[in-house]
Amino acid sequence: MILPLALFAATTVVYPPMALSVLLLSGISTGLGAPFVANFVGSELPLIVGLIIVTSIAVPFVLPPIVHILFGSHFSIPVIHMIVLLAVALFIPLLAGWFTKKFAPNIAEIVSEKSLYFSIILIVLINMALFSKVSTFFFESSLFVVEMVLLFGIYGTVGYALISFTTGVTSRTTSEGDTN
């Protein structure tokens, strides 16, 4: 809760029209693409999966009241939708992976070795599907898109610098202190 509120406060000062968007984006649950990123950068996968589960269940109870207090508007995120999404997109793949490791370890090993390439193919399909839905927006509001890409760059750079400064962990080190 602290980080979304802090980012909301900062955006209210720097660029108020984006304050609600920043609050929603920073307050939403951890994305289902996070395990891929965790494996890609060598982060702690169990922690990431735990975060996905906890934040997905918590967000229907946390985010709407915050938005109501700060903006006076009402919206709801049905808990059952989040549970169904977790079941379909997280627990079923998790169980499938567990069964594969238990009953077909050779296949599990091959899948694990080639997971990056297959993951990239699936990311390509997801991206094409998602961006096709908002395609017209890129042509109708091109300047706004450019502004948002620049803001994303600033947002990411500030976040990376902050984490590096506070934890001493950079892309060249791991959380265990090893240097890559």
Binding site: N39, L45, P46, L47, V88, P93, S115, I126, M128, S135
Partner: protein
Amino acid sequence: MNSSGMLFLAVTISMAIGVLFPQFSKIFAPYILVWLGGLLFLNLIQLNTSKLISAFVHARQIAL
């Protein structure tokens, strides 16, 4: 090409295809949950279940 470069190219090109060729890209839209489930299967197969349970037992990091 290293994996970072490959990923960057794949993401950039797929975004461009989605924006520039929406009619073609919409073919894949109804199956987003399938692609997402597959992505998680590929990455969660490496997850040690006991470590996931441990992450909840020692939940300080999650709480933070």
